[in-house]
C-alpha cells in the first residue's frame, strides 16, 4: 500500500481518480443487464415488428422507423436507466460515500455520463446496423457518421433531462414514476404530435420537443434531405434543452436523499 498522496502533497492525481471512476462505472453499466438489454432490445423489436405488413407506411416509412428505434434506445438508457441508477445510488448512500472522496464532483457525475454516452454510441451502431439489414436501407459513410453524431447529441440531451429529474426529485421511487411519465409524454409529443394526428398546434410544439427535434434530424440525415433551416432549429432545440436541463440538474442536485 503505497500512497502517492503522502500528507505533504496537495491532493490525489485526478487522472488516477478518473480512471478508477470510469472503470467502475463501465463495469456497473455492463453488469446492469436489465437496462442494457432494454435499451437494445426495445429498438430492435421496433425494427423487427415494422418489417411485417404495411406498418412502415403507417409510421411514415423506413427512415422514420429507424429514427424512432434510435430515439427509444437513447431514451431508455439515458433517461430511464441513468436516472434510476443515480437515484438508487443516492438512496443507498453510494453517492454520499463517493462524495466524501477527494475528487471534484464533476468527475463523479462526468464519469457516469461519459460511460453512458459511450454505451449510447454502441447501442446506436447496433440499431443502425440492424435497421439497415432488416429494412434494406443504403447508407453511405457520411450518413452513418451524421446519424451517430445526432445520436450522440440526443443521448446527451436525454441525459441532461435525466439529470434535471434527479436534481428535482429525491426518492428513487418518485424518480421512477416521474421519468416514466416524461418518457411517455416525450414519445407521444415527439412522435404522434409530429405526424399532425393531434392537430397543427401540437405538431408545431412537437418539433421543438427533444424527441421531435431529434426525429427531424434523423429523418433528414437518413433521407439525404440536405441541410435545411428546420434542421438548424432542431439542432438549436436539442442544445437549448440540454443547457436548461443540465443547469437545473446541477443547480438542485443533492447527494443524499434524506
Amino acid at each position: 500500500m503505497k500512497s502517492v498522496t503522502d500528507t505533504g502533497t496537495v491532493r490525489p492525481p485526478l487522472n488516477l481518480a478518473l480512471r478508477a471512476l470510469l472503470r467502475a462505472d463501465a463495469t456497473v453499466l455492463m453488469r446492469s443487464k436489465i437496462s442494457a438489454t432494454l435499451s437494445i432490445l426495445l429498438p430492435v423489436v421496433i425494427l423487427v415488428a415494422t418489417t411485417f405488413g404495411k406498418s412502415q407506411h403507417r409510421l411514415g416509412g423506413t427512415t422514420l422507423t429507424i429514427g424512432l428505434a434510435l430515439v427509444i434506445g437513447l431514451l431508455t438508457s439515458s433517461m430511464l436507466g441513468f436516472t434510476l441508477a443515480i437515484a438508487g445510488d443516492r438512496d443507498t448512500g453510494v453517492l454520499q460515500r463517493l462524495h466524501a472522496a477527494p475528487v471534484p464532483t464533476w468527475a463523479i457525475m462526468g464519469s457516469r455520463m461519459g460511460v453512458q454516452v459511450a454505451a449510447n454510441l454502441v447501442g446506436s451502431i447496433i440499431v443502425v446496423v440492424v435497421g439497415v439489414i432488416l429494412h434494406g436501407l443504403a447508407l453511405d459513410a457520411g450518413q452513418v457518421l451524421l446519424v451517430l453524431g445526432a445520436a450522440l447529441l440526443g443521448g446527451v440531451t436525454f441525459l441532461s433531462i435525466g439529470q434535471a429529474v434527479v436534481g428535482l426529485v429525491k426518492s428513487s421511487a418518485a424518480v421512477l414514476a416521474v421519468s416514466r411519465v416524461i418518457f411517455i409524454v416525450l414519445i407521444l409529443l415527439g412522435l404522434v404530435g409530429g405526424t399532425g394526428l393531434l392537430g397543427d398546434t401540437l405538431k408545431s410544439i412537437a418539433e421543438w420537443t427533444p424527441v421531435g427535434a431529434l426525429m427531424t434530424l434523423f429523418a433528414d440525415i437518413l433521407n439525404r434531405a440536405g441541410w435545411s433551416a428546420q434542421d438548424g432549429w432542431a439542432l438549436l432545440a436539442c442544445v437549448a434543452w440540454t443547457v436548461v436541463c443540465a443547469g437545473i440538474g446541477i443547480r438542485w442536485f443533492r447527494w443524499e436523499s434524506r
Binding site: 500500500m1 503505497k2 500512497s3 502517492v4 498522496t5 503522502d6 500528507t7 505533504g8 496537495v10 491532493r11 490525489p12 492525481p13 488516477l16 481518480a17 480512471r19 478508477a20 471512476l21 472503470r23 467502475a24 463495469t27 456497473v28 453488469r31 446492469s32 445510488d89 443507498t92 448512500g93 453510494v94 454520499q96 460515500r97 463517493l98 462524495h99 466524501a100 472522496a101 477527494p102 475528487v103 471534484p104 447527494w255 443524499e256
Partner: protein
C-alpha cells in the same frame, strides 16, 4: 506543508464552534474539540444528538452554518479536496455499487484516494482482513462483520492522518466487535488518529483515549473515560442513574437523561 513541518503537537483535527443546520432545524449547536495525533477519540451521544452531522461537516458532505474545521491545519471549507484527501471515511451506512465485486470496490477507492495498489498487494491486504476468499463477491453478500472490515480497510487504504468512523461496530457480534477494536488500535499503532462514534460505553472505555458526550447538538462533557467517571461520580443525576459502582454508562445516562430518543 510536508509532514516534517507539522509540529507533533498540532492537532490533526480542530473543531471550533461548529454549527450545523438542516433548514431551520439546528443539529449541531456550537461544538468545539481537538483531536491529537495518535489519539482515539470517541463521540458519544443518544440518537439524534448530532454525531453524524458533526462528522458530515468534517467530511465536507455538508456546509456548516458557522464555525471552523481544520484538518491537519487545513481549513475544510477553503481546501475541501485537500482536506478530504487526509481523511479516511466510514459512513454510518456503508454502501457501494451493488454491481461491483469487492476487489473492484477497493480498486475504485484506491484510485479515488491516489493509493497505488497492485494485484498482489490487494490480495494480501484482503487476506489479512479475512476476505481473501471473497474477491469476486458483492458487498451485499458479505456478513455484517465482513462489510465493516472492508469499509474500514477502504477508509484506511491511503494511509490517512485521521479516520472518521461512524458507529463502526453497530450490529456486530462480540467476536467481530473485538476484532474491529484490535484493527482500530492497530491503525493507531501505524500513526493514525481516529474519531469514532458509538453507543457502546464498553467500547468507549475499551478503545477511546478521550470521549466527548454530546446531546441536542451541544457538548456536555469531554475527558478520558476514567476522568469522566471521576468528575461526575458524585453528581446527583449520575448517582441516581447508577446501580452500585458508577460506570461510564451511568455518567452518560445521568448527563443526557433517560428518556428514549429516536
Amino acid at each position: 506543508m510536508s509532514e516534517g513541518d507539522v509540529p507533533a503537537t498540532l492537532p490533526v483535527l480542530q473543531v471550533d464552534q461548529l454549527e450545523v443546520a438542516y433548514g431551520a432545524r439546528t443539529a449541531v449547536a456550537g461544538i468545539s474539540f481537538d483531536i491529537r495525533p495518535g489519539e482515539i477519540f470517541g463521540l458519544l451521544g443518544p440518537n439524534g444528538a448530532g454525531k453524524t452531522s458533526t462528522l458530515s461537516a468534517i467530511e465536507g458532505l455538508l456546509r456548516p452554518r458557522s464555525g471552523f474545521l481544520l484538518v491537519d491545519g487545513l481549513d475544510v471549507s477553503e481546501h475541501p479536496l485537500e482536506a478530504k484527501a487526509r481523511l479516511g471515511v466510514q459512513l454510518q451506512t456503508s454502501s457501494f455499487q451493488a454491481e461491483l465485486g469487492i476487489e473492484q470496490i477497493v480498486r475504485l477507492f484506491a484510485g479515488l484516494y491516489g493509493a497505488r495498489l497492485d494485484r498482489d498487494q490487494l490480495r494480501t491486504a484482503l487476506e489479512q482482513i479475512g476476505l481473501g476468499g471473497e474477491l469476486g463477491r458483492r458487498f451485499k453478500q458479505l456478513s455484517g462483520g465482513q462489510q465493516q472490515r472492508l469499509a474500514l480497510f477502504i477508509a484506511s487504504v491511503h494511509e490517512p492522518r485521521l479516520l472518521l468512523l461512524d458507529e463502526p461496530t453497530a450490529g456486530l457480534d462480540p467476536q467481530s466487535r473485538r476484532q474491529l477494536w484490535n484493527r482500530i488500535e492497530a491503525l493507531r499503532g501505524e500513526g493514525r488518529s481516529i474519531l469514532l462514534t458509538t453507543h457502546s460505553m464498553e467500547e468507549a472505555q475499551a478503545v477511546c483515549d478521550r470521549v466527548a458526550i454530546i446531546d441536542h447538538g451541544a457538548l456536555v462533557a469531554l475527558a478520558t473515560p476514567a476522568g469522566l467517571i471521576e468528575e461526575y461520580k458524585f453528581d446527583p443525576r449520575v448517582v441516581q442513574a447508577a446501580h452500585g459502582e458508577v460506570t461510564l454508562e451511568d455518567v452518560f445516562i445521568g448527563l443526557t437523561g433517560s428518556e428514549i430518543r429516536d
